[in-house]
């Protein structure tokens, strides 16, 4: 992937670009707002990572300008610690995701991955499939092989989020945000508990696991061995 990182703190920028390079992506770093904007307008990127606080032109205005000229490239905002309202502001101007500093690189990478391929999985999809697991979004019906699996609405939602991101890692935080709209860190094992419940219904009776734990990072669903 080709990723533009607009970030004025050299340490964060280096941390992000090294990490991306290790994962085999091309990262371009720019340290100020106007440069970042003109680069984002003139080149084609898979994802743009923008810091909220930038010299000369802040991240919000940058993305607003980008959206105003019709650029639809996925944008992920980086913000400083504890910005309660930053996320809403960021999404309002047309950002696609949001991550507060300090962050683990795995979290950033998971979010970039989720963003980059988002357009291919539109909401228009009716049936999601992973191996012999099928989810019919219209009939709200889940089957594995020939068995119909009865899921609670929340379990259904959790499985839907996982299946829509088939093959990609979803971190705990991403699941909390997307499944339960929790924008804070719970002190109990909310995600683990719900994943475990879901597993007992869709995985355990079948011997072959589809939901995989990615250690220290999150969960993913796929049917590769």
């Amino acid at each position: 992937m080709r990723i533009l990182v607009i970030e004025d703190d050299p340490e964060t920028a280096a941390y992000v670009s090294n990490g991306l390079a290790e994962e085999g992506h091309i990262a371009e770093i720019l340290a100020d707002g106007p440069d970042g904007l003109s680069q984002a307008m003139n080149e084609i990127y898979d994802v743009i990572v923008v810091d909220r606080m930038l010299p000369r032109l802040d991240g919000l205005s940058l993305v607003r300008a980008l959206r105003a000229v019709g650029q639809k490239v996925p944008v992920l905002f980086l913000t400083s610690l504890g910005g309660v309202d930053d996320r809403v502001d960021g999404l309002n101007v047309g950002g696609d995701d949001y991550l507060a500093k300090p962050f683990a690189f795995s979290e950033l990478m998971a979010r970039i991955n989720a963003l980059a391929r988002r357009p291919h999985l539109s909401d228009a999809e009716i049936v999601l499939r992973v191996g012999d697991l099928q989810m019919d979004l219209i009939a709200r019906k889940v089957t594995r092989g020939s068995d119909v699996i009865d899921l609670q609405p929340r379990e259904f939602r959790l499985l839907e989020v996982l299946m829509r991101n088939k093959g990609r890692v979803l971190t705990r935080t991403m699941l909390l945000e997307r499944v339960w709209s929790f924008h804070f860190e719970p002190k109990t094992s909310v995600v683990e508990t719900h994943i475990s419940r879901l597993r007992t219904k869709i995985d355990r009776p079948y011997g072959r696991e589809l939901i995989h734990t990615v250690r220290g990072c999150g969960y993913t669903i796929h049917d590769h061995q």
Binding site: L81, G82, V84, D85, K187, S189, V190
Partner: protein
């Protein structure tokens, strides 16, 4: 002090403004009076001139020009103090009789200046002006004019009065301004001294009240209230920062020990990895504490209120309970929810924060209790308020500790062993406060009962 910047003092400025206003009023009044009187007197003078000229023209008509000339010459001589002018001239322009000479013939009324009139005798007041008119007579022209002395006299009297009046006004105004300024200044000086003491660190100092109940006393009372509030805030901040420093010293110390251990005793990659992972977890906890602190601060700042919209409290409670039901079960507890999603308990709020508030309360019950307790979520909808209740059958909080647990970073003695920042209830309280809700901790007999009362939308 009183002479210092005296023009900037409020009472002085007020007195100045009133003096000016009063002076303008007086001047306007006198001006109107003068103009009215002047018009009245001028017409009176003209009437007198007209009467004289009527008599003289009649003499000319009845007894002839020579008789008129004689009368005019006689009159001109006898006019007392030159308060009127007379001039009779022939058709060829030559002087016949009168007390002035060489006045050009004009039609209608004119005002002639004494200074420019060639008088026959050097008498009269040089400031005189004459309202005069020419009248045609049988063999020439007759000029009759009356002096404006009365008008000038009236003007003099008015100006005189005006001068004294203004002087008195100004003196009274300045005098009272100085008096008032001095009295106010003394009180304001007390304010200034008190505030100076406060800004130099004596935060307990207050402005003394005179008990007179005047505006300055009211201001003083308000200053005192503000100072008390400020003192409370400063004490809170001091308390919070020392709490923060104290609370973070421990995890940072642990972090340091872990890193030291890694450096000193780990001699293979696996051990290093383990130590580094532990250190990272410790760091995450520290960051989390900061995050929670900042979040509380931001919530308390209240900016989020601008995003409030209608939220159904029952819906939020049912949702949160639904998420935590399996979590409670996992830890051996039982969560029961008596709230239905359609409870029709609308409040103005921020759904995200409300979710966090109730998640916090439920998590507190799960984490700070031994396993096997019951946890309940309930909602009472009333006319004026909607009351959300989260109760548990755990160990509860002793009555004398219930105030303290809302303090930032405060942790009960028995909770010190469980991981946590001691910020959960502070955050819950901050969120409730943002929504205008009150949080009460009650005894559930056994256990804790957290009652959050929201004003209904």
């Amino acid at each position: 002090m009183i002479t210092n910047d005296i023009l900037k003092r409020t009472p002085v400025r007020l007195a100045g403004a009133f003096t000016l206003l009063f002076a303008v009023t007086v001047v306007a009044l006198v001006l109107v009076l003068y103009l009215t009187l002047q018009a009245e007197l001028a017409s009176h003078i003209q009437k007198r001139v007209a009467e004289t000229s009527d008599t003289l023209v009649a003499i000319d008509a009845e007894h002839g020009f020579d008789a008129l000339a004689a009368v005019v010459a006689d009159e001109a001589k006898s006019v007392r103090d030159f308060d009127s002018i007379l001039l009779l001239r022939r058709k060829d322009g030559s002087f016949q009789a009168g007390n002035v000479r060489n006045v050009r013939v004009f039609s209608g009324w004119d005002v002639l200046d004494r200074a420019w009139l060639p008088m026959v005798a050097d008498k009269g007041d040089p400031d005189d002006r004459f309202y005069a008119e020419w009248y045609p007579v049988s063999q020439g022209y007759l000029l009759v004019g009356g002096s404006d002395r009365e008008i000038r006299e009236v003007r003099r009297i008015l100006l005189h009065g005006l001068g004294w009046g203004l002087l008195t006004t100004v003196l009274l105004a300045v005098g009272s301004a100085v008096l008032l300024a001095r009295r106010t200044q003394q009180k304001i000086d007390i304010f200034a001294t008190t505030l100076a003491h406060v800004s130099h660190g004596d935060i307990g100092r207050r402005v003394p009240l005179t008990g007179s109940g005047d505006d300055l006393d009211r201001v003083a009372a308000q200053i005192n209230t503000a100072l008390s509030q400020l003192q409370k805030l400063i004490e809170n901040v001091n308390q919070a920062s020392s709490d923060i420093a104290h609370d973070l010293k421990k995890p940072i110390g642990r972090l340091r020990r872990r890193l030291e251990l890694a450096l000193g005793s780990a001699d293979n990659v696996k051990d290093y990895r383990g130590r580094v992972e532990e250190s990272l977890a410790e760091l995450d906890a520290i960051v989390e504490t900061f995050e929670a602190l900042l979040r509380i601060t931001q919530i308390e700042a209240g900016a989020r209120r601008s995003r409030f919209c209608l939220v159904d409290l029952g819906d939020v409670l049912a949702d949160v309970a639904d998420v935590y039901e399996p979590v409670a079960e996992e830890s051996g507890d039982h969560l029961e929810c008596a709230v239905r999603g359609d409870a029709n308990a609308g409040i103005l709020g921020d759904r995200e924060l409300l979710t966090q508030l109730f998640a916090n309360l439920i998590e507190n019950a799960i984490r700070h209790s031994p396993t096997g307790i019951r946890i309940g979520v309930d909602l009472l909808t009333q006319e004026q308020e909607h009351v959300a209740i989260v109760w548990d059958t755990g160990p509860g909080i002793p009555a004398d500790e219930r105030e303290n647990v809302f303090r930032r970073l405060y942790r009960l003695e028995r909770a010190r062993t469980t991981p946590g920042s001691g910020l959960g209830l502070s955050l819950a309280a901050a969120i409730a406060d943002l929504h205008g809700a009150t949080v009460a901790l009650e005894d559930n007999k056994p256990g804790l009962r957290v009652v959050v009362s929201f004003p209904s939308a």
